[in-house]
């Protein structure tokens, strides 16, 4: 790094960092920033980091600049609604560290600060590197001129650009219209700061209500529900569907899962549509359309993500009206030198059709692929990403493909024993657990719990099994229900895209009766 010293000489530095054209109103900091980045990645999340890693692996000496409006370096999201809540460490909100399945701790940050180089050094550093510019928002994209403009009027030109701007949590209109007293008692959960503030809130209020019955809402409900056993915190979860994960799981399984969520200490209100929310006598009053009234201290909305397409207008980029997000081809390209990955990408999946996927592993897979294609690979989206969720110690599943409860399903189940839980599976399995064997940097959901998993004894007990989702008789999605380390088989079946006459025969491939 000695070579960079000479670039501190103001005369030499000026040659490498020419003054921006609009110098009126520029802060001194903008003079030091690179005005050009060969690889410019917009957004500092999982997809962006995966792309940066891919680019650096394939293009020796690549100079990669990540621009993010968050104050944080790239980090992984899943632990924010899972592992971090189960940590014994009282300083977890500061350290953001969690225990993996193998007992080893890690940070949610993909890499510590020393991995990255300073943006000011990007031009000069000998072997290139990844620089992260935090706290800056990209407000304008000039596709013809191959440059973007930041919210401080800095311009950065690029050779190749990745848009990985993710999205923002949706809110309910009734809450937005409910006034400031309600809004300031509402958390839209997505980022580190939301985790920190919700953690604090959970220690200081008597009642929290989660609106939303999907992955995020259910995971947070279970995490907070577990806390409620140690304090007198009331945890309520409400959603319009009949049961938890109602849009994902077939009804019988959604109902079964809801019972499990209730056992985690959550008061579940299903078929609940919010009519209005008011603030009265220091409480929030949630009025449901069917007349029910819920009084609570704090609301967490987990009602979906609005993909960020802020740059579509200025960039002249196509937006998909069915799925939202930027429309890209199978190679994740929006334009010849612009790619999109992660939550914001509506892409063409050769096998499953056009879609948009909001899961961690997809961000990793698509970010990686975008990075490969930005360095000349020309590969389509092919390696199917997966996702997972744990709802307490009894219910854990991994899934792949299109898992939509409106599709016809075939579920093949074995009777469960105490051994068949996520906790037991992670303890027994020695290597390559679940999502870690798929891609690196995925957070596992093993819960280092003290309570043993109870034996389930219901007659129709969906302890473990495999569920196939069908579209025109072809399996397009698979859920591995409390069976782990079988994802490669599931991926193969989706990839083949064959019609199978007897899905019980396909189910045999998963050895659901074994560990």
């Amino acid at each position: 790094m000695e070579a960079s010293h000479c670039y501190d000489d103001p005369q030499i530095r000026h040659l490498n960092h020419p003054q921006p054209a609009e110098s009126v109103g520029s802060t001194p900091a903008s003079l030091k920033l690179p005005s050009h980045a060969p690889y410019l990645l917009l957004g500092g999340g999982t997809a962006s980091f995966a792309a940066a890693r891919s680019i650096r692996a394939r293009d020796p000496g690549a100079k990669v600049l990540i621009v993010t409006d968050e104050p944080d370096l790239p980090y992984m999201r899943p632990p924010l609604s899972k592992e971090l809540w189960f940590s014994d460490d009282p300083s977890v909100t500061e350290t953001l560290r969690f225990k993996q399945w193998n007992g080893k701790e890690r940070s949610i940050y993909f890499q510590p600060p020393s991995f990255y180089i300073n943006p000011e050094e990007l031009d000069s550093v000998e072997n290139g590197g990844v620089a992260v510019l935090t706290g800056k928002k990209v407000v304008h994209m000039d596709v013809r001129g191959n440059k973007v403009k930041l919210d401080d009027d800095t311009e950065i030109s690029y050779d190749k650009c990745l848009i990985a701007t993710g999205g923002v949590p949706r809110n309910l209109q009734v809450i937005e219209r409910a006034g400031e007293e309600v809004m300031k008692r509402t958390t839209l959960f997505r980022k580190i700061e939301d985790f920190r503030s919700l953690d604090k809130v959970s220690r200081n209020v008597k009642s929290i209500t989660i609106i939303g019955g999907g992955f995020l809402g259910s995971e947070l409900a279970c995490a907070l529900g577990r806390r409620s056993t140690e304090s007198d915190l009331e945890v309520i979860q409400m959603f319009p569907e009949k049961g938890n994960m109602g849009k994902v799981l077939p009804e019988y399984l959604s109902n079964w899962t809801t019972e499990k969520v209730k056992k985690e200490g959550v008061k579940v209100l299903s078929e609940a549509l919010v009519k209005s929310v008011t603030y009265k006598d220091d409480k929030l009053e949630i009025h449901l359309k069917d007349g029910r009234l819920v009084k609570t201290d704090h609301i967490v909305t987990a009602v979906g993500l609005e993909p960020n397409v802020d740059l579509a207008k200025s960039g002249g980029l196509e937006v998909d009206s069915d799925f939202g997000g930027y429309r890209v081809n199978a190679e994740l390209q929006a334009r010849s030198n612009i790619w999109v990955a992660g939550d914001a990408a509506c892409f063409y999946d050769i096998r499953l059709g056009r879609r948009r996927v909001e899961h961690h592993d997809h961000a990793v897979v698509s970010g990686r692929l975008a990075g490969e294609n930005m360095t000349g690979a020309n590969k389509p989206y092919w390696h199917q990403s997966m996702f997972w969720s744990d709802l307490g110690p009894d219910v854990g599943y991994e899934a792949i493909g299109i898992v939509d409860s409106s599709l016809p399903t075939v579920g093949v189940f074995a009777k469960a024993t105490a051994k068949d839980t996520p906790k037991a599976a992670t303890e027994e399995s020695g290597t390559g657990i679940r999502s870690e064997s798929e891609t690196e940097d995925t957070a596992t959901s093993a819960v280092a719990s003290v309570t043993p998993a109870p034996v389930v004894e219901n007659k129709d007990d969906y302890g473990k099994g495999v569920i196939f989702y069908l579209r025109d008789k072809v399996v397009v999605g698979i859920i591995l229900w409390n069976v782990f380390n079988r994802m490669p088989v599931a991926r193969k079946i989706i990839k083949d895209g064959e019609e199978h006459a007897d899905l019980n025969e396909v189910a045999k491939l998963f050895n659901i009766h074994e560990d």
Binding site: R56, R106, P112, S114, F115, E251, D496, A507
Partner: protein
């Protein structure tokens, strides 16, 4: 004995261990080992190293990525009797670089994998210390410690 029921569009089958003992007659399509779309392992079909293999963690992309690539390439293509013996300088460069980033590349004297790395270096999939030691000591061609090459 298995039993089956329907709930609307959803079919539910319960099977015993015996039901699933007979081999499956489901047909899977044969994989093409040279499929250009597929994820590759550490070594590509043409013999080159796949620097983007997830099994390498962040080794090829971090601040010492160039040094790592040079050292490992040298070793990989080495035809010497003692494989990699001509690569000592590259490995030394790599080690010198890695010593500047102890957070990313923990320097473990003890190669015992059961020893957890120091607190600040718990980047198990990123800074793979066993990869460093095995690459440096030239006794392994695939520096993985359980990360499955996809």
């Amino acid at each position: 004995m298995s039993y089956c029921r329907e709930e609307g569009k959803d079919r539910i089958i319960f099977v015993t261990k015996e039901d699933h003992e007979t081999p499956s007659n489901a047909e899977l399509v044969a994989d093409d080992p040279n499929d250009p779309y597929e994820e590759q392992g550490l070594i590509l079909p043409n013999g080159d190293i796949n620097w983007n293999c997830p099994c390498l963690g962040g080794m090829a992309s971090g601040p010492c990525g160039s040094q790592f690539k040079e050292a490992f390439s040298c070793f990989h293509y080495s035809k010497e009797e003692v494989k990699g013996s001509e690569c000592i300088d590259h490995f030394r460069n790599m080690q010198e670089c890695m010593q500047r980033y102890p957070e990313l590349y923990p320097q473990e004297e003890d190669k015992d994998e059961s020893t957890a790395p120091s607190d600040s270096a718990a980047l198990t999939s990123e800074s793979d210390s066993t990869a460093v030691t095995s690459a440096v000591s030239s006794d392994s061609t695939s520096p993985t410690d359980g990360q499955t090459a996809s």
